[in-house]
């Protein structure tokens, strides 16, 4: 069975292994032990802090395969990006150039460097071991974050976004980077991607073009990569799109992977989730699969298990209660898988 809980320092080796597997293009989860350690520390600090409104907190969660007590995935939330340095994206806007006299009316898409997502909460870095990329594990890990946000809305902004990994091949070659970023960074995609994960992001403002880039002037391969999701991220993208996330024309400045956004209150998991008592499952029918969470902040736990909604609460198996560290009568939060 699977359990999601906040990351702890003991998870560092496992996280490092995951980061190495994740590969290029997941800039907010670099395979750098020191940075990963910082991320765990920041998450712990955030969970231990009384938060009235979102700031520079970040939260890191791990997915545990409880049968082997092994870390097999992780994900996170940044309470607010762009706090210290602006958070950059490209906004795709159409520029209209029309000549009535020549009866020409051109709508030309152009990329505008912007920081429209500065000041917004972000879902980051969903990484899961190949062997565990099944629907239950992926949904649990991804949506556990939304249950957390529903529990602590004051810790997040009303708008939420997620960056989806853009197209690049196994060697880290990105046609979009090659056509655009490379000319301004004079380094390869891998290095820029890594730097953007470990360094402060001033260098983006320093090096990136300040004027709009007209899409038709880019090579075709680069044009085609704009807004396209890396095949490895299809599954996690689908989970979020089903939740109500939408693409609004923002893409990553490095690989042109799309960002998707939503108003927090309208997300499926958040509108559907309920809080009530845990009950015991008495009859033989186990009921449909649910995501069930319990525990406060540092002790926040989410698991996926069969359960039966009843008038007085949600009926769970004994084993599920134990996994969550609760017993009947405790308050729990749940949503159908």
């Amino acid at each position: 069975m699977y359990l999601v809980r906040p990351a702890d320092f003991a998870d560092l080796p496992a996280l490092e292994r995951l980061a190495q597997q994740a590969g290029i293009g997941i800039t907010n989860f670099p395979a750098n032990r020191e940075r990963l350690n910082d991320k765990i520390a920041s998450s712990r600090r955030s969970l231990q802090t009384d938060v009235v409104q979102p700031g520079d907190e970040s939260y890191l969660f791990v997915l545990v395969d409880t049968s082997k007590d092994q870390i097999v995935g992780c994900c996170g939330i940044d309470a607010m990006v762009g706090v210290d340095t602006p958070f950059y994206s490209y906004r795709i806007d159409e520029v209209v150039h029309a000549s009535p006299q020549l009866q020409i009316h051109n709508r030309i898409p152009a990329l505008f460097l912007c920081h429209d997502y500065s000041g917004t909460s972000r879902l980051i870095a969903l990484v899961v071991d190949k062997a565990h990329q099944n629907n239950v594990a992926m949904s649990l890990l991804s949506r556990a974050r939304l249950l957390f946000i529903a529990r602590y809305p004051e810790r997040f902004t009303k708008r939420l976004f997620a960056e989806l990994r853009g197209e690049s091949d196994k060697k880290g070659y990105s046609a979009f980077w090659d056509a655009l970023g490379k000319h301004f960074f004079t380094m390869d995609f891998k290095k820029a991607d890594y730097l953007s994960g470990v360094s402060n992001k001033n260098f983006i403002a320093e090096l990136m073009p300040r004027y709009p880039i007209y899409v038709p002037t880019l090579p075709e391969a680069a044009q085609e990569a704009i807004g396209v999701i890396h095949e490895n991220s299809d599954q996690s993208a689908e989970i979020l799109l089903n939740e109500g996330f939408e693409f609004r024309g923002y893409v990553d400045i490095f690989d042109a992977g799309p960002s998707i956004e939503a108003r927090t209150e309208s997300l499926h998991t958040i509108t559907q989730q309920k809080m009530d008592k845990a009950l015991s499952l008495t009859d033989t029918a186990k009921g449909p699969m649910h995501l069930i969470s319990a525990g406060h902040l540092e002790h926040f736990r989410v698991t996926a298990a069969p359960a039966e909604p009843q008038v007085a609460g949600l009926a769970l198996e004994k084993a599920t209660q134990e996994r969550l560290g609760i017993s009947s009568g405790h308050r729990i939060q749940w949503v159908a898988l």
């Binding site: 520029v95 150039h97 029309a98 000549s99 006299q101 020549l102 020409i104 051109n106 030309i108 056509a179 655009l180 000319h183 301004f184 960074f185 004079t186 380094m187 730097l195 360094s199 402060n200 001033n202 260098f203 320093e206 090096l207 990136m208 073009p209 300040r210 004027y211 709009p212 880039i213 007209y214 038709p216 002037t217 880019l218 090579p219």
Partner: protein, 350 residues
Amino acid sequence: MMVIRPICQNDLKSLYRLAEKTGIGFTSLVSDEAILQKKIDGAVRSFNKEDVTEPHNEDYLMVLEDTSTGDIVGTCGILATVGLDEPFYSYHLGSITHASRELKVHNVIPTLVLNNDFTGCSEICTLFLEEDYRHSKNGQLLSKARFMFMAQFPERFTEKVFAEMRGISNEDGVSPLWESLGRHFFSIDFKEADELTAQGNKQFIAELMPNNPVYVNLLPPEAREVLGQVHKNTVPARRLLEQEGFRYENYVDIFDGGPSLEARVQDIRAVRESRLCLANIGQPKGTTEGVSEGNYYLVSNAKVADFRCILVQRSIPPGSAMTLTQEEADNLCITNKEPVRIVELSPYSR
């Protein structure tokens, strides 16, 4: 003898004949009688304007006449100002620095910035010489006669003057810069855009061209390489202007990337070194009938409507007077002791 003179109403047929020979890409001389007649009217009006104290919309179109046949074999012109009736566009090739101390990266990125900086400036233009006459320094006479006119009547021109040089395109008239830049913004082809511009119809440029700087490093190599480069047929014309002191100051044509060359009128070699002296009609010393030797000199008169300029060869440098044969004087429309302006045809031959 080859003589430069203002175009006149009788020249329409000859001008049309020349225009037919210019070919694609030479948009200031199109084979359309109505347009050419309008051009002649403008030029005649300009040369006949007296008491001009500052440049307006004058168009000084001159022709090269072979007096032995009476044929018109070349044209050259000066526009007193550009851009005051229709906007005049160019790209300025500038740079933007992107540097990050932290990453030790320091990039200087060339950019193309759309502008109308030449607005109100004088332009030398419409230089064309028939193929059969491309010898005996006729090309130099045709080009530099304009400087003699400017030297004599500086009040009719701006302090700075420029020339647009034809940029690089292949045999089919395809320009690499246009293909990677203009084409995306105009839904018409290069030829059509070029013709519209030639007809003074430029509003569409403002309407269709991106007004943000274009990053040159994002253009394909073949487009980058033509910026500021001239068509191979234009190489001699460029060298000629550069020898006279014209400089490429990073302005290029928005369509084909051809360079604009510019100079202060007073800094042009032929202007700076030209001087007035008195004409002495007679047999020049050191020359024998029919034998030509010595240095070449441009000689012009000091008249507007009857402006004339010819090329002579003298083995003895002229002093405060210039001895001219009767034929030369006749072709210059001057009599004995009238002032003429002279200058060595080429630099370094003084």
